[in-house]
Symmetry: C2
Subunit: 139 residues, 2 copies
């Protein structure tokens, strides 16, 4: 499947190691992740040369072209929130993952839109299990 | 006009005093602000009794019913990003304001959707001017 992975960039990179694990796992399962580079610890080097308009147009066209969206929502981010709404509006299923104990926006935790799943994880193993469960329902 | 004011809640309340000024100014100009209470310093007391699903359903129906959306985007927030996208998808004009010098998401700063305006302000006076300019174009 073509999976749009959405994670915080400007909002903070404290969870970068988790982003990397998500992308590595999904690619290992044979999925295509257009945003795989966003999980890199060298992201600044990769994206700094791009104009904001280029990033917006590229990311939004990727959201519109994906089969599903998976977002890590432990760190607040305007971009991630925007992309989840864009996916919902285009009828794409969306899985929002966050670390147990982190307080997240009620617009995410209380989201009642069809196809939106919000789940917390205690560790990487549980997180991988949640992604497998989400994706297996769609196939 | 019915103006949906969108601001960070769970993402952080460092800019609460600015939110309060925005709401006070817009109400003083005669506009209706369904989210006026979100600018309060007592927000926790007001919202803590509500289930996340109630907050989501209420806020999204307000976004869909508004004439325009004004967001303060200096503090990263999933909810604010989601609401901006929802407004854009429903064809509502959106003004995104942030303090000069703050780094914001490229999904906001590079947003090329029709009706989206992103502006920075140095002080409250300039911020009020940006809101007047935005609203006068629509009337």
């Amino acid at each position: 499947m073509n999976i749009y992975f959405s994670c915080s960039i400007t909002g903070g990179r404290d969870d970068q190691a988790v982003y990397y694990e998500i992308v590595r796992f999904l690619q290992g399962e044979g999925h295509e992740i257009p945003t795989a580079h966003l999980a890199s610890s060298d992201l600044d080097k990769l994206e700094n040369n791009l104009e904001p308009e280029e990033v917006f147009e590229r990311d939004i066209s990727w959201v519109r072209a994906c089969d599903v969206l998976i977002a890590e929502v432990s760190t607040p981010s305007h971009g991630v929130g925007y992309e989840i709404a864009e996916a919902v509006n285009k009828g794409k299923p969306a899985l929002c993952l966050y670390r147990s104990g982190v307080k997240i926006s009620k617009i995410i935790s209380g989201n009642t839109e069809k196809g939106v799943f919000v789940r917390s994880y205690r560790d990487l193993k549980q997180m991988r299990g949640l992604m497998i469960e989400f994706l297996s329902r769609l196939q």
